[in-house]
């Protein structure tokens, strides 16, 4: 084999167009006669809609349509949920609010006008008569006695309650040296891709087809939902995700605006564009992260963990578009890298009057990893043991894989860790970090009155989630160009490059000969999408298997044309040849040509075993999730006078199975780390007691800049997954997942001389300063 690409740091093929301004983002699309949609949103977190007056808006310059619920009542219905769960009291929104609005920003009316400026003018002329209702503005408020109800038929605001147990927690607790209780909290955050959500819908009455171009992660899911909501056969709906300017989770969700833009296009018979602006993104794009965990941990004098009880409360906002995916992930991610023979995990999912919670990069894992690593640090501090040592004492050992945790994961399958070597990861990280030397430096710094701390976090990430992802690998007759279609869209991860690497290596052709198309439901009949760190696993292996099928087909065809047994046919450089007579052979393009039109007399096939079409479609099915793992080690210095934190060093050792492209992998890790750090130090979604967002611009909600991002050292341990031929595991979220825990661990360590204990994030300078003051005055 002369073309080796899998595992190589190939530069990206999507870059030239993105670097020259020739990217194809949805807002770049301009269609003749296109209208522009703007959405009238509720200013109240909770209110009854008494009346929506649209007359003035309809007369506003350039307006073609202005609708409230009454105008879509004939077709409107609650949106379908992505995944249901028996414990869930599902509540779904409709495209426009019917009679009650349940979060500030919920769509109440919609306008289509000749341009966005005119559409916004019309919005200002819409008059809505609201009757404000008391709102549930936080998780704590949802649980408070006598709290208002988000949904009248759910009086306790509990959307779901479910639990899982392993072993016998009560008995374990009775026999342990220590049982301690901790309470941990995380606040809401959001994804904030730099490209906001956007969609263009066009209905072609000639083709009787609705086409939606949208900045989304999961085109096939969108098609299913649109077909169901608009009473269209799925084959009459085409969804295309062209270049997407970052996803991070929320773009995998079905938001009302996509249905509105499609409905307007259907009914007005004109193309309609909607581009969310940043203020709307803050209000109306789904968020994540707010949780409260009440933990009891039992441990022995030697630092071994014996058992753990965690009662967790997870805010889901006003509706349940993503069901209990995130709560399930959090619940099952708690044990992580640690042997915990006795576990009881109980989850309450609660409503609030805020934009729905779905997923943001990490999707419930960061919170669980935060909880468990804070617990382990707590044990270490209690026993005056080194936190690395306590981790090593409690790791699941390498020999134990596959390791059955005893829980059911969010895919409904037993949580069996496929492979891993947590001890090797931590040792490697400690070595890169030069942990003993860093501890000595910390001591020296403390003697100078500086607050330097070292922290760490380990994690396991269930990724590569099913049920499947598909690929078509097709060889063009004549040219021999290989076209790969994948259902999973790309938001910058580099799928066009990585999937091409796989196909090119299997078919032994030059990378330039492969073209990858993603994110178009016309390319592939079925698909799921890009989320849950699944594309390298499912999409990658689908391409791998399909490409192998094409190669096998090509070999069979070549053998029959060359009239030799298949085992005598060799394959190199995309060419089949007779092994003992290498000059006799056929290129891929020639074989594809034969497979395309046949070569027999007249229209007859050349041989009885001739198979048409040199292509293969393969849907790679996930037997169960793959479990990536890793460790982050951080050194920080805290300015105790201002509460500001500076990251001095950051080391990542990641095990995502076989690395397909180290350069791109590093890119994923760095971006993930930046996001995780940011959730602790910079980003804060603050709501007031009436459910109004107080940090709704980039002037109030801070994303880190290049000035904040520390240097990061990245290395790998590779334990290939036995569950798929490539041996890959998910990599897209692992940078984020343990970052919050590692960073807070380091900050707490820095402040140890003051006795500050940290069981929450975010920890902006004000909050950290307050905690320092509290510790000092205690």
């Amino acid at each position: 084999m002369s073309h080796r690409y899998i595992g190589a740091s190939v530069v990206r093929r999507e870059d030239p167009r993105l670097l020259t301004g020739r990217g194809r983002f949805v807002d770049d699309l301009e269609l003749p006669g296109m209208l522009h949609m703007a959405v009238c949103r509720s200013p109240y977190a909770h209110a009854r809609l008494r009346a929506v007056h649209l007359e003035a808006a309809r007369q506003s310059e350039g307006v073609v349509a202005a609708w409230s619920y009454a105008d879509i009542a004939d077709i409107s219905r609650p949106f379908p949920m992505f995944l249901s769960h028996p414990a869930l009291k599902a509540k779904m929104y409709e495209a426009l609010a019917r009679d009650v609005v349940r979060y500030a920003g919920e769509p109440v009316a919609v306008v289509a006008a000749q341009d966005r400026y005119l559409a916004e003018d019309a919005l200002q002329r819409i008059v809505v008569d609201y009757e404000p209702l008391p709102a549930v503005a936080s998780l704590a408020q949802a649980l408070a006695p006598g709290a208002p109800c988000v949904h009248p038929d759910v009086p306790d605001n509990v959307a779901a309650h479910f639990a899982q147990s392993v072993g016998d927690v009560a008995q374990a607790f009775a026999g342990a040296d220590y049982v301690h209780e901790l309470e941990l909290r995380m606040q809401r955050g959001c994804g904030h891709p730099i490209e906001t959500r956007a969609a263009v819908a066009q209905y072609d009455p000639f083709e009787e087809t609705l086409t939606l171009w949208a900045t989304i992660q999961a085109p096939h899911r969108m098609r299913r939902a649109l077909a169901a909501l608009l009473d269209l056969p799925p084959q009459r709906v085409r969804v295309i995700a062209p270049d997407v300017g970052g996803g991070f989770g929320p773009k995998a969700q079905l938001h009302p605006e996509y249905v509105l833009v499609a409905l307007l296009a259907l009914r007005l018979r004109r193309p309609v564009k909607y581009t969310e602006d940043r203020l709307e993104h803050f209000l109306a794009t789904s968020q994540e992260r707010e949780q409260l965990h009440r933990v009891q941990v039992a441990f022995n004098r030697d630092g071994t963990l014996v058992g753990l009880r965690d009662t967790m409360y997870i805010d889901v906002g006003a509706y349940t578009p993503a069901g209990v995916i995130t709560p399930l992930i959090t619940q099952t991610t708690i044990p992580g890298t640690y042997r915990l023979p006795h576990l009881h995990l109980e989850t309450y999912v609660t409503f609030s009057n805020r934009v729905p919670m779905t997923v943001v990069r990490g999707a419930g894992r960061s919170q669980a990893v935060f909880v468990m690593n804070r617990v382990v640090d707590h044990v270490a501090r209690t026993l005056n043991l080194d936190p690395a040592e306590v981790r090593l004492r409690n790791f699941i050992p390498r020999e134990a894989f596959p390791y059955d945790v005893g829980l059911l994961y969010r895919d409904g399958k037993p949580m069996i860790y496929d492979s891993g070597d947590y001890t090797a990861c931590l040792h490697k990280a400690l070595e890169i970090f030069d942990y003993p030397a860093m501890r000595r430096e910390q001591e020296a710094a403390r003697r100078q009155g500086r607050y330097v701390g070292l922290g760490m976090a380990t994690f396991v990430e269930g990724g590569g989630l099913g049920p499947y992802e598909g690929a078509v690998v097709r060889v063009e007759p004549g040219s021999g160009r290989v076209v790969v279609h994948s259902g999973a869209g790309t938001q910058g991860q580099g799928h066009e490059t990585v999937l091409a690497q796989i196909a090119a290596e299997v078919l032994d052709v030059d990378l330039a000969q492969v073209e990858v198309r993603t994110g178009d439901t016309a390319g592939l009949a079925h698909g799921m999408g890009t989320f849950g760190s699944r594309v390298a696993v499912l999409g990658g292996n689908a391409v791998y298997v399909a490409a192998q099928q094409v190669r096998a087909k090509a070999l069979r065809l070549a053998a029959s044309l060359l009239q030799v047994p298949p085992e005598e046919v060799g394959w190199e450089n995309g060419r089949a040849f007779v092994k003992r007579e290498p000059a006799r052979g056929y290129h891929l393009g020639e074989l594809a040509h034969v497979a395309d039109i046949g070569m027999g007399f007249g229209m007859a096939a050349p041989h009885p075993e001739w198979e048409p079409a040199l292509e293969a479609t393969h849907y790679f099915k996930a037997e169960r999730a793959t479990y990536a793992s890793g460790v982050h080690l951080v050194a920080v210095e805290v300015d105790v006078e201002t509460g500001q934190v500076r990251v001095l060093r950051y080391v990542v050792v990641d095990d995502c199975g076989r690395v397909l492209n180290p350069l791109l992998m590093r890119g994923q890790v760095l971006g993930g780390v930046c996001q995780g750090i940011s959730e602790v130090l910079y980003e804060e979604l603050v709501y007031d007691e009436e459910g109004q967002l107080l940090t709704g611009t980039f002037m109030d909600y801070h994303l880190p800049t290049a000035m904040e991002m520390p240097a990061v050292e990245v290395d790998h341990v590779e334990t290939p997954s036995p569950l798929n031929p490539l041996g890959s595991k998910g990599a897209g979220e692992s940078g984020t997942i343990p970052a919050q825990a590692a960073l807070v661990s380091a900050i707490e360590d820095a402040l140890a001389p003051l006795g500050v204990r940290l069981y929450e994030f975010p920890l902006g300078p004000r909050r950290l300063w307050e905690l320092i003051q509290q510790a000092r005055s205690a």
Binding site: E120, T695, M699, H702, P704, T705, M707, E708, G764, R766
Partner: protein, 293 residues
Amino acid sequence: MKPPRFDYYDPHSLDEALALLARYGPEAKVLAGGQSLMPLLNMRLVAPAALVDLNRLPDLAYVRVTPAGLALGALARQRQVERAEAVVQGWPLLAAALRYVGYPQIRTRGTVGGSLAHADPAAELPAVMLALEARLVLSSQRGRRTLPAAAFFLAPLTTALAPDELLCEVQLPPLPPRTGHSFQEVSRVWGAFALVGAAALVTLDDAGRCQQARLALTGVGPVPQRASAVEAALAGEPLDAERLRQAAALVEQDLNPESDVHASAAYRRHLARVLAQRTLQAAWRRAQEAQKA
């Protein structure tokens, strides 16, 4: 996020601009750099009947050394001022503080005068102008008047500018020899508004005592403030780190900050003290260097 409709004017002379302001009064907004006004327009938080764009006015983009000090025209861009050799040499506090105003791409367009006229209570430049004892020249069809910076800022986003007046020039008197400066702020990320910012100037006499100390703060109240108690405690005194620390602690006397989503009043007050100490210390060190030189 698209601006509402307005009547746009780009006058080509100052008289024309002042006539427009006289005609529209409070219904007009002046567009200089636009780096604060344009976001407000995009968010439709303001909806002026008329926008009077100063950018086509000739000869207002000057940075000029005069016998009375430094004169900055209404259209002097922040980036231009930050890099002007006269500013770096003679008013280094201003150059230092400008680095904290937004980002280079904002400062390319943003003007010093525009930032002052906008009067955001968390902005850097208003406090710097207090420390530099700037004088602001306001023009209208009714005539010209000059105000000290201390009399200019009245409330958040509110200044002494009458609706028909334009801030035409900022004048900075020269700084005495043996003066050191420092500007520092605490913000959530680089380029964000300050939670609290401090601008300090320390001038030493021949004997190395503090001839004069000036300290101005932003983010600690509705308008930027001079810390008069701190300044009084240092004037005429020999300096050392401890005295600076004690004087800085007096800053809290003069302040009555409010709590908001970004910082509590207590935290702001505390930051004011920390930054007062740090900037005074740094300014003193620079003054000592200047004295040696």
